[in-house]
Amino acid sequence: MSHKRLLDTEKRWVTRKGKAYLSDRVIVHGKDLHKELGDYDWIHLYLYAILGRDPGENVAKLLSSFWVSTSYPDASIWPNHVTALAGTVRATASLSLMAGLSISEASIYGRRPEVRALDFFYRAGKHLDAGGDLGEFVENEKSAGRTIYGYGRPLSRTDERIPFMLDKAREFELDGGRYLQIALNVHSYLYEKYGYSMNVAAVHAGLAADIGLSCQEYQIFGSPAFVTGLAPCYQDARDRPEGSFFPVRCSNIVYEGPAKRNWSA
């Protein structure tokens, strides 16, 4: 390789994604934003922008309900907590929301479990296609030391979002797919053998797989998902006295490090 490949894009970026012809028109994946896409609701348009195609009204509505299902205005939830901290110190609204969103790409909630769960179901599907057994696939993952994302929930045993999501999937007639069934079968297996519960990441990922989203598309789609829960947490902390959001007293830092010592010693 060499720098020569950079010369092609130094002054020219050819794209099929879109372009804003300012004062004239805006093209998104070949369609005029204002004339052809103007009646889409925002999530539908977001999906169109990510996928480069219209996924259809029902898919857009179901994916919109993913976001609805996880819009929790509770400041104990970590991204919300960060946004509330930003509010209590009077950071700007955008900085506060971005700070919360930036930590939603976490390992124990949010984007990584979602991506890993979707990937797990696609790989499980391939294993089944090759004549394998689902329990065997789960055991192989476990014996490789891999977390089975979507099963178990750190702070509770049940997930109130699951019945909501299954109802929505039925409502939009997207509940009959192969991967949702795999997600439910994996839960049956893990529950019977290990007592694992299922969380909504498994249901979301199963539905996303049935819709056909790639892991990257799913990650991009989910990135702003927590914003509706963040906003009220920011406002709540912003409207109270400065620094009053769960202040921490000195003695509540429990020190477990080396004993006091002299620098000169």
Binding site: I27, G52, L95, D119, G257, P258, W263
Partner: protein, 275 residues
């Protein structure tokens, strides 16, 4: 009276003022009195190493970290993270927006902290085994699972858009090797640089050099990544402020360079192949 909402730390101890449990009378870092002694007696890089490593650094380590910090303090306005900060600065956005933009862009796998993190992971795995390095550099992503990070697209620590090793990298390697252990990562990298470059087909990058220096300082992938992110911010900050002063009329506008290809669908785009 203390509540049950407690944070646990091996780094930091605070003792309250008698009149206010929320105000510290004394702060101790790893057991050392910060405002009574450390601030007076330690250097910035000695303090940084104490925070990250838990003990006062050994002889020569603060000097190595300080020179590394100088080497990476300003990647310059062509570099993506600095460009991101300049975009923020020229538009008059918040200072923290400029740094958040620099951090996010500077976190990437091409020249950013994720690449450095992967490099340090390879150091832990390959140590001074040349053959193992050769194998892993060409195959750095050995997990078939999808992740929030995409698979590496080049040999970590090397620049696939490079032809020759840039002079500043060679100058910095020479300087840092002189401050590092004779049997450490930097010394090994210097001895094997040309052979590794020949193997991967392109030259050493700053991320690869910084990774070796941070390995010599005893940093793991997480610690190294954090330091790399922090220590590259000064240039981003200065250039963001400079562009704010310079004004948007002098800033490049790429509108005319964006060319819409309306000839076909998106099905052959790179993203379409990434399931």
């Amino acid at each position: 009276m203390a509540t049950e909402y407690q944070y646990h730390s091996n780094i930091w101890l605070e003792e309250p003022e008698a009149e206010n449990p929320f105000a510290a009378r004394a702060c101790y870092c790893r057991g050392y009195d910060v405002y009574g002694e450390v601030v007076r007696k330690a250097g910035w890089f000695e303090y940084l190493l104490l925070m990250f490593k838990g003990e006062r650094p050994g002889t020569g380590e603060p000097e190595l970290l300080e020179k590394l910090a100088l080497v990476i303090a300003n990647p310059g306005p062509r570099e993506a993270s600095v460009r991101a900060a300049m975009n923020a600065g020229v538009a008059g956005t918040n200072h923290s927006s400029a740094l958040m933009a620099a951090l996010a862009v500077g976190a990437g796998q091409y020249g950013g902290s994720q690449e450095l993190s992967v490099c340090i992971g390879l150091w832990q795995e390959c140590r001074f085994d040349f053959d193992r390095w050769c194998a892993r550099l060409l195959n750095p992503s050995d997990d078939e699972r999808a992740d929030i990070w995409l698979p590496m697209e080049h040999a970590p620590g090397f620049d696939p858009n490079g032809d020759v090793t840039p002079t500043p990298i060679l100058q910095s390697l020479d300087l840092l090797v002189g401050l590092a252990p004779a049997n450490g990562a930097l010394a090994w990298l210097k001895a094997n640089r040309q052979a590794l470059e020949q193997h991967v087909g392109y030259p050493l990058a700053m991320s690869g050099l910084a990774a070796a220096a941070l390995v010599d300082l005893g940093m793991d992938p997480d610690q190294g990544s954090m330091l790399y992110l922090m220590l590259r911010l000064p240039g981003a900050a200065a250039h963001a402020l400079e562009q704010k002063q310079m004004g948007w009329k002098k800033f490049p506008y790429y509108g005319p360079a964006i060319e819409l290809d309306e000839s076909g669908s998106n099905t052959d785009s790179p993203e379409a192949t990434r399931k």
